[in-house]
Symmetry: C2
Subunit: 202 residues, 2 copies
């Protein structure tokens, strides 16, 4: 464990996976360091090349760097209080947005949220490759974010996101630090992957 959070939580895998995927995790401690415009462009470029149903690319992102104080604070007020405590130190905040209907025929796109997820995982892995951490949150006020960010009808906020260089867990309050240092756990593969039919062991 290093003091900047790097490799603090390297996944304890049962099967080999790529180093970038082992290293990706969602910290709460961020360093006091800005993300440059060109670095953010690379994160967004990674999201851009995700696959999507009919290549509709139903994702959008509204973001604010911490240096843009008015916009950053506006975004911060959309987060649940428990997330505001630590996310205020992130280098940037973001709301991810899904377009709910297809451009091609205006019918509902049942994969809109899913495809935002594909794009955001690309974003997160690119961030990991650049030494940056991404923490997505379900805990935010969807209606408020739609309102204060001017997100148009037909588009739905999906997650709030904190982005920044990882920081020292010692900077966190005690409760948040406990979460930060907790062992990472996941269900075993046998619980979620099946051979040929539901519940059949691989």
């Amino acid at each position: 464990m290093t003091t900047d959070g790097t490799d603090l939580k390297l996944a304890e895998t049962n099967h080999d996976i790529h180093e970038l995927l082992r290293r990706r995790w969602s910290p709460r401690a961020f360093a006091d360091r800005e993300i440059s415009g060109s670095t953010m462009s690379s994160l967004l470029e990674a999201a851009r090349w995700a696959p999507s149903c009919f290549n509709e690319q139903p994702w959008s992102f509204v973001l604010a760097h911490r240096g843009d104080v008015v916009a950053f604070d506006r975004l911060l007020t959309c987060l649940a209080g428990v997330n505001q405590v630590w996310a205020r130190r992130a280098a940037a905040l973001m709301i991810t947005v899904a377009k709910l209907a297809f451009d091609r025929n205006e019918k509902p796109n049942r994969h809109a949220f899913h495809d935002v997820g594909l794009a955001m995982e690309n974003f997160s892995i690119q961030a990991t490759a650049m030494g940056i951490a991404v923490h997505q949150m379900g805990g935010f006020d969807v209606a408020r974010s739609k309102d204060v960010l001017g997100i148009p009808d037909g588009h739905e906020p999906v997650t709030a996101v904190a982005v920044g260089y990882p920081g020292d867990p010692e900077t966190l309050d005690k409760k948040t630090r406990t979460s930060e240092l907790a062992v990472r756990i996941r269900r075993p593969i046998a619980e979620f992957a099946f051979a040929g039919g539901w519940g059949r062991l691989l």
Copy 2:
């Protein structure tokens, strides 16, 4: 361009992104080569370590290797005809599944599809790292897949997936080959990423 499809469609990026993200794409031509059990375990392990809302990990996967003829054919019949044409040559087929309610409180999980997307992008990037291609499809019979695979209520099929080592586009029929060789396109960042509020240029 090599004859096995490798690097056939390397993304033409405007900003630097990691090589794995540039190389990931969704081909239709697959080589006649099996995926080993241990390799498939690595792909599923990568999916396993994706983030999710409340760490609920709402993803499941029902898969069939091509060598498991009965299960593979059963899965193949769930695909749209236009996808069956090429996906029958994949080394494995899969249906991804979302659990619609939280385990913790049985309330609807609005991020269920999104989080399956996060897991599937991890799966796809791990595949890319191992020289394997993943092609997700929206074009499949959701109700039929739920029925023939025994997917329980409260769970919803999300996408169908073809997985395999990339093959020679010359093995495809003319129409499918045209899709395979088409230039990859994406919306520019300026169309989907905004500063502080919807529509404001970064």
